[in-house]
Each structure stands twice: as C-alpha cells, then as structure tokens.
C-alpha cells in the first residue's frame, strides 16, 4: 500500500479544490440548483423568481391566538418566505469539496467506491440541510405570528440556523470522506501506526535478542 503524505494530500487537495470549485461555479451550479429544487419539491414548495431567488412555502400547523387587534383566533397552515440565490448556493457546494478530498487521495480504483457512495450521501445531506433550514425558518415565523416566541426557542433556532448554514456545509464533506474512505481515515487518525507501547516492547525484544547473542559469543 502506498503511504499517504499529508503535504502531498494538501497540495493535491488545494489544486483540486480550486479546479473543482471553479468548475462548479461556472458550469455545475445551475444544474445542481435545478436538481436540488426538484428533490426538495417533495418536502417544500419552491418557486424560482426571474432574479434566481427562491420562494419557499413550508407546511406549518399553528394556531394564532386572538388579540385586541385580531379578535378571532386564526389557524396557520403554511409559511412563505424568500431565499436569496446566494444563500441557496450554500446547499450545493459541499459536493465539489467532497470530490476534491476524495480525488486528492492516491489510487484511482480505490477512490471509486467512496466517490460514488459519497456523492449519493452528500446529495442527501445537502437536501436534508435545505429542508431543515426551511423548517427552522418557517417555525420561527410561525412562532412570531403566534406571539409564542420565547428567548430559549429563539436561541435554539439561531443555533440551528448557524450550524446548518455556517458549519455543516463546510464540515460535512470532510466528515463523510473520513467515514467512507478507509485509507484516508487510517492515515489521518494514525491507525495502524506503531504506538508507543508496541514500539517499546519491540525495542525490548530486540535488546533481549542482542543480549542472548552476546552471551552465546
């Protein structure tokens, strides 16, 4: 088995990231947005505006209690909100990052299986993140309308949105690559490398052998 070298991996990975993200930005972005919209259509109603922004309709069941201004209680069935194209793009960019990580590891044939499985898994993750994001946003709007928004709930929603938008799209490709690529995982976590205990015992055996040899002489 060829040894993984971190510096080599970093160099290849950086070049591949620049190449694949440029390809994604100029050629793959529109088809990927189309596929994401089609796939997310089963969970959220999405319409694309001429500007490229998305209008989402999320199903939420919530009762808005009666107030002084509105004497009758109302039932909310769905919440509509818009998402800028620049925000939607975040839910497609993890895939080229994942490809770059996998292709940066040596061995074309060895990378084929994690590449295919990972592509499917990453697509599912991106779709899930979009649906979760839409759900969190819609529940926030519904809570605001119902006047039932507490500080704790607001913080949890903010925390959820932060993870879904700022952390998971960047971290997930690396986590999935480490989960699916055995050699990469073994190299990064130094699995299979001789540990201190084993190395010491090896040295001990060697010394014993040397002593036995010198006694024989």
């Amino acid at each position: 088995m060829r040894e993984f070298k971190p510096a080599r991996f970093l160099l290849r990975g950086s070049v591949l990231l620049i190449g694949l993200l440029t390809l994604w930005w100029f050629a793959l972005l529109d088809p990927m947005l189309f596929l994401l919209k089609s796939a997310a259509g089963d969970f959220v109603r999405i319409e694309e505006n001429p500007s490229g922004d998305w209008s989402l309709r999320v199903r939420v069941e919530k009762t808005v209690p009666a107030t002084d201004l509105q004497p009758m209680a109302r039932q909310i069935h769905s919440v509509d909100f818009d998402m800028q194209r620049s925000d939607v793009i975040t839910f497609t960019f993890s895939l080229p990052v994942y490809w770059a990580i996998i292709l940066a590891t040596p061995g074309v044939r060895r990378n084929l299986r994690p590449l295919l499985w990972g592509t499917a898994l990453m697509s599912a993750v991106e779709l899930t993140l979009l649906v979760v994001f839409a759900g969190i946003m819609a529940s926030g709007v519904a809570a605001q309308l119902a006047g039932s928004e507490e500080a704790g709930g607001r913080w949890i929603r903010m925390f959820g949105v932060y993870l879904v938008v700022n952390v998971l799209p960047y971290a997930t490709p690396f986590v999935v690559a480490l989960l699916l690529h055995r050699e990469l995982r073994g190299a990064v976590f130094a699995i299979g490398q001789p540990t201190a205990t084993r190395a010491a015992s090896d040295r001990g055996h060697r010394l014993e052998r040397q002593r036995a040899k010198s006694n024989r002489v």
Binding site: P6, A7, F9, L10, G13, S14, L17, I18, L21, W25, S86, I89, T90, F93, V97, A100, I101, W155, M158, F159, Y162, L163, N166, V167, Y170, A171, P173, F174, A187, V188, F189, A190, I191, Q193, P194, T195, A196, T197, R198, A199, A200, R203, G204, L207
Partner: protein
Amino acid sequence: MTKLRPFRFILIFTCCVLFAFGLLLTPPVQSVDVRFSRTLVKVAYCLVMIGGGHATRDAATLRAPGGFGVEMRDGCNAVNVTILLWSAVLAFPAPWKMKTLGLAAGSAIVQVLNMMRFISLFYLGQYSMTWFDFAHAYLWESLLALDTLVVFWLWAKRAMRPRASPDARI
C-alpha cells in the same frame, strides 16, 4: 498511549462541537468574538502597511483608498474551523501535554492562514466582486477547512509517534 476508539472519539467530538458553537452564540462570548475580529483587522492593517500597501481601518473593517471595504464578521475570523480542530484534538486519545501543544500550535497555524485569506480577499475585492464572493464564501473557506484537517493529521501523527521508553533505554 491508548488506542483510538472510534465511537468514543465521535461522541466527544460531537459534544465538544455542540458545546463550543452553543457557547460562541451566547452574548458574552459574542462580544469577545467581535473584539477578537477587531484585533485581527488591526494586525491585517499593520501587515498591509508594512508591505507598502494603502488602507484605512474602521473597527472591524479594512478599507481601500478606492472605497472598497472588507469587514471581518462572525465566522470570518476562523473561529469555526478552530472549534472543529479543538474538538478533534480534545477527542483524540493523546497525553494532555500533546493536546495543549495541538490546541496552541493548531490555532496559531489556522490564524496565520486566515490572515493570508483576509488580506488576499482585501485585494481581490478591489479587482472583482464576483471573484471576491466566490473566494470569500466558498474557495477560501474550504481551503481553510482542508488545511485544518492536515494540521490535525500532522498533530495526530506526532501524538502517536513511538517514543523511547525508560525500559528500552538500558
């Protein structure tokens, strides 16, 4: 040295990540975060001036003479990748001395790279906003995450490296 137990690692890593990001979003830590960003912009300003460039500084914004300004907001100060690195280091079975070394050296390397990122974005934004958006939100972020993975890899390799034990040094 104990062997890496995958489930233990994943559990501790996930707990550390959730705790640290939760803490990051609390008001007291947010104010520290903003002050940290301002300090980083101050350092970037000094580096630009030392390098013979022209810029002005306004709180957490670095401004070019042409009017273009780049603000270091939450997330632009590499706190996110630092949290991921710290969580991985803390979850890894290594002696505390090695962990401390990993946390300190790893954070320093990440911050140096982030400074390069910030200054390069400052110049890129003056040239093209399209390229700035692409590099800012996607390219540099993922390059920084890749660098962080390699920093962890190098540290883990060092942490697992066999050392001479007293018994073997007869």
